[in-house]
Symmetry: C2
Subunit: 322 residues, 2 copies
């Protein structure tokens, strides 16, 4: 056994629509063990807290540890959360509606529970142990199927008056005539800079660029993905580069406008699309620089997120530690 027997652990939990990521984490942010269990959405998600409690108990047993090793649980969940009470108004992907998450999980585990939004705990994770490098003013922008975000200011996550702070994906990039967004508005950043948005922009403009290698990909696969666009750009495909430049323009403008208001030290780009690395980061930095105040630009550093899927459980542990 590597760990000292008197070492205390925190449980980090990151609830997703398909799996629940869990980890035992030291008070210094080191992962002792991590594992996943399936998200059981039966009966409007009422079994989830029991599943988590059971998973904690069996992992403790496996490690030969007693319950008093654990000092608390920090959990990230999707949806609208009332911070003080850990009450979930609505989490569409899970099936919860008016679900007292904190109370239920505390009852089932006997441990103190802290709950926050999943994008927010990822930002805290990156701040503590990831690309944020301890920066107390940090912006996390997650580019995946959608566009999410978490804002850390003065070392605290911002929630706003009713838990909506950090909804960076719904900054309006195209005020008139933009694409409809899942949120009910149109022209949101999410309709452009998500994996879905990038694929859509490429597909919509493909007819006029049959010389592009994306045309060939489309002909054989019947569709385009964001990954296809970045791969073509890496091969210097002019059309793919143009699509990425358009995406980077809207993303750079939105982030610069936010940075002029928040003056972050680190701007961390996460999510699946961030795997594109410099192919996205270079044009993004250029457009950002055009629209950020000089002193704001000088104070901000772009980074690709480093924790990947562990950001949530580590951020959860940080939250519980506070």
């Amino acid at each position: 056994m590597n760990q000292k027997m008197d070492e205390k652990w925190i449980v980090g939990v990151d609830l997703g629509g398909t799996t629940i990521k869990m980890a035992f984490i030291t008070t210094y942010g080191d992962i002792v063990d991590k594992w996943e269990i399936p998200t059981n959405k039966k009966d409007a998600g009422k079994h989830i807290t029991t599943d988590i409690a059971r998973a904690i108990d069996s992992k403790l047993e496996e490690k030969g540890r007693l319950k008093n090793t654990l000092i608390g649980i920090g959990m990230g969940a999707p949806g609208f959360i009332e911070m003080d009470t850990g009450f979930i108004y609505q989490a569409v992907n899970i099936g919860w509606r008016n679900f007292p998450l904190k109370d239920r999980l505390e009852m089932e585990t006997g441990l103190p529970v802290t709950v926050d939004n999943d994008a927010n705990i990822a930002a805290l994770g990156e701040m503590w142990r990831g690309a944020g490098d301890g920066a107390k003013n940090l912006l996390l922008v997650t580019l995946g199927t959608g566009v999410g975000g978490g804002i850390v200011a003065n070392g605290q996550i911002l929630h706003g008056v009713n838990g909506m702070a950090g909804e960076i994906g719904h900054i309006t990039s195209i005020p008139k005539g933009g694409e409809p967004c899942n949120c009910g508005k149109s022209g949101c950043l999410e309709t452009i800079a998500s994996a879905t948005g990038i694929a859509r922009i490429a597909t919509e403009n493909l007819q006029a660029h049959t010389d592009s290698r994306l045309w060939t990909v489309y002909q054989s696969a019947g569709m385009l993905t964001a990954k296809d666009v970045f791969e073509a750009a890496d091969e210097n495909d002019a059309f793919a580069l143009k699509v990425i430049d358009e995406v980077a323009f809207h993303l750079g403008l939105a982030i610069a406008n936010l940075a002029n208001s928040l003056n972050p030290e680190k701007i961390v780009i996460g999510g699946g699309v961030s795997k594109a690395g410099d192919t996205l980061l270079q044009p993004l930095k250029n457009h950002f620089k055009t629209y950020a105040l000089e002193r704001v630009g000088a104070g901000a550093e772009f980074r690709i997120a480093t924790l990947g899927n562990d950001a949530g459980v580590i951020g959860g542990a940080w939250l519980a530690k506070q």
Copy 2:
């Protein structure tokens, strides 16, 4: 004498390019006495701290009070400030460059001094005793010669990594082909929604609207002001209403985008232009609603600032009280 003799006071100081606003304020935010002294910019502003110290002493004498009545000074200053040390990198309007404001003023007065940016202390003032009504998540947008701002989140003013947070006036509203801004960029919100910007937009488009009463005003005065535009709008002048709607569109979009990230409870509009009241607020709210997430819009209330010129000294006192 109305005040109890054992009551403690805080000194609020709001430094401007022309005058220094000063006040003795109770720990509950009530103004005991307020007054102004001229801003002495001679010798690169080196006499300012002595002037403030002297003004405090003579006002104390006038009130028949001893120095131990005062518990500290909270001061707002223009320019770039290092928060921890109260060091002013640069305040162009005053003449300061690398000026140790906090240290100097503490030395001259023997009182503890807290310094912050002038727009920030105005936001704190409105939060504490003005239109903010104690809201812990508040956005102050000041529409004057320029456009300034202060952001309160979780009850704290945001400064960012190098004191630039809240520079709402330099959100880019027109990414391509916008008007040059004093900051060196172009198309900033300040070029549109400031008093200067409103007058400029009206003047530039006047030739095509000789039926507007603004044309008559321009013919006789040789120029237009923002006040002229709002007055014409109040008389239902179609061109003036169109100019205000354009301004309100850009302002509403910028504030909604910020609100989607910060989720404020109160959005307080201050500065000279805010005197237009509902003539500005109505179209502003409409455009805001189009671009804010529904739940963000539901959580936010627009208010006109109520403290006027007292916001700075009251916010300064709040800062010193912390």
